[in-house]
């Protein structure tokens, strides 16, 4: 792209963009500044962030740390929530499909690991955790396709209601099926593999940090994949569907197929988080998959800023972390949490970090290319 030749019009555009920037607030001006930094600086910044994230449970930063519950396990929960939010963001934020039954896929993932991995389950195969994860991903993806196939012809509220039903159906199936352990659940789910030199397991209840690090690593891999999709024909098709489904179809986008893909990919990520959850708990029962989790998942996406990866991760962390941080308030903590949500939505209705409008971002990139050339 070598479009820039720095005329007066170009400068005017830049000024207008600057104005736009100020209106859009701090999130975007930070973004602009970030992209204006030279590439090595950005890489170093990211690297530092990654290192800090990995070290969090060891540093136990004074204000952030949770005095009333184990910081490592709070971090793991937050990471899990973030992973779920990334998956749900594909469905809600990118393709614009309101899914209120996302916990269903999470449950399918967790139960897959439980059924195939636990020696106490009806199958009793007792596969190791690493074998169960691909099965879990495949089965939840399949669940996504089975749910999406007939229902993705519905739009908006109708789809939301059907997915809401799906989440409950999955849970009730688990409650009522003896093969799935009924209300008592399934015990003896395998942990992820690995031994320390001294012979103890790396992943055990005694060492939650390892689970956190695993979840964090999975998040990075998934974010990498989702970003690739976002910046491709697939991501553009999703956005186009979200913006105007009919126009997208008339511009040659096979809308149904791409909606189904969004559902399947979202479901796969949900299933993956479910399998992490099962691997950490070692025991699951239907109470882990209540409707309220679906609602909290959607809340994480909307609160953070649907469509923006960093936003939804932030939203998820906030939602998983705040109630734990304020555990000291005992029964008031949920109240405080709810209040915090309402306040955020009043002041930032588009989310904490709103969906990109890539205008400035792209403009900066264009200049970079022009300079580099």
């Amino acid at each position: 792209m070598t479009t820039s030749n720095g005329g007066p019009r170009q400068r005017m555009n830049q000024r207008l963009r600057g104005y736009d920037d100020r209106r859009a607030g701090w999130a975007r001006s930070i973004r602009t500044r970030w992209h204006a930094l030279p590439r090595p600086v950005r890489w170093l910044g990211l690297l530092a962030l990654v290192v800090v994230l990995y070290l969090l449970p060891i540093i136990q930063p004074p204000i952030l740390t949770t005095p009333d519950s184990d910081f490592g396990s709070v971090l793991f929960d937050a990471a899990l929530f973030a992973l779920v939010a990334i998956g749900l963001n594909v469905v809600i934020g990118m393709a614009g499909l309101l899914d209120l039954g996302y916990v269903g896929f999470y449950a399918v993932g967790a139960y897959s690991v439980a059924v195939f991995g636990s020696p106490n389950s009806s199958l009793g195969t007792g596969y190791p955790w690493l074998v169960c994860v691909p099965i879990a991903i495949a089965l939840s993806m399949l669940a996504g396709v089975i749910l999406g196939g007939p229902t993705l012809r519905l739009r908006g509220d109708y789809l939301a209601i059907v997915t809401l039903g799906f989440g409950e159906i999955v849970r009730l199936t688990a409650v009522n099926s003896n093969a799935l352990g009924a209300a008592a659940g399934i015990t003896g789910i395998p942990h992820p593999p690995g031994k320390r030199p001294d012979g103890t397991d790396i992943f055990s209840i005694l060492n939650i940090n390892a689970f956190y690090w695993l979840a964090l690593t999975v998040i990075f891999i998934v974010v990498f994949g989702v970003r690739n999709l976002e910046n491709s024909r697939v991501g553009r098709s999703w956005l186009a569907i979200r913006e105007d489904e009919d126009a997208a179809e008339l511009m040659g986008v096979p809308t149904f197929r791409f909606k189904l893909w969004a559902f399947a990919i979202g479901a796969a990520i949900g299933g993956l988080s479910g399998s992490l959850f099962a691997g950490r708990q070692g025991f699951i029962n239907p109470d882990s998959f209540l409707l309220q989790f679906s609602i909290l998942f959607v809340a994480a996406v909307v609160l953070g800023g649907a469509g923006n990866l960093l936003g939804v991760v932030t939203g998820a962390v906030v939602i998983a972390y705040l109630p734990e941080r304020f555990r000291g308030f005992a029964d008031y903590r949920i109240f405080v949490f709810g209040l915090a949500l309402i306040i955020v939505m009043i002041f930032r209705p588009q989310g904490i970090i709103p969906n990109r409008r890539r205008a400035t971002e792209l403009a900066v990139r264009t200049e970079e290319v022009a300079e580099g050339a």
Binding site: Q10, V234, L239, D246, E249, G252
Partner: protein, 294 residues
Amino acid sequence: MPEHYAADNEPADSEPGTDEPTPDIGPDPGTPVGTDLAKALLELDDVTLRFGGVTALDGVSLNINEGEILGLIGPNGAGKTTCFNVMTGVYQPTSGDVRFRGVRLGRRQRFQITRLGIARTFQNIRLFPEMTALENVMVGADARHNTSVVGALLRLPRHRREEREGRDRALELLRFVGIERRADEAARNLPYGDQRRLEIARAMATGPQLLCLDEPAAGFNPSEKSALMDLIRKIRDQGYTVLLIEHDMRLVMGVTDRIVVLEFGRKIAEGLPEDIRTNPAVIAAYLGVPDDAA
């Protein structure tokens, strides 16, 4: 235009023997283009469309010939946009056939029809508002792409090639319609006229042979209109066939090679602009007939 798109325009799925001469770009504006002489790109054959008791199209037959600019005019509610919607697969005709390059559109889905080579713009602009102008056009260009989800996930070579091609083509088209400096702005922030142009660029990006413009000059002032006329001619000179719905008579008469007039879902006239201008049926349709003459 990259060769890739030219190659894609060959009818791969239809029978190969359509023995057309090497496509000279656009008909000579001096020669009248009759249905018998030129090759029909799109044919509507006795198309009727009913919604319940309302007959929106009543036995309409018309041909759009390769390389021409065909104007479709008629009073409000005459069925012009409905006609568009039948051609682009939004509605299935109740009876009759729509054939594109001799192939029946049948029950093809809308996105398939677009990929076949018919693209359109909308009477009331329907861009993807939060996406940038460039991304809007790239969505159109993606109609010619086949990157799979896995390919995009792993950034396989085809994905990279198609991304690059799509971006280049999109930029080229933005330049062609004259809004390349807006490439990085969200579509909804574009001025009205540029949004119209962006719609045209997006439709052209799908690599159509037939470009259907639904009132592209609506809300334009005279100077914008004449700029648009230039653009439409330029598009035709690129080898596109253009179907134009338009209310502005000066624009229609100025730019089209041939005109079809609809009224109450029926075709009431067809011919060269100068003939249409003096056709009594058309004048009656537009101005009404005095009671004593009826």
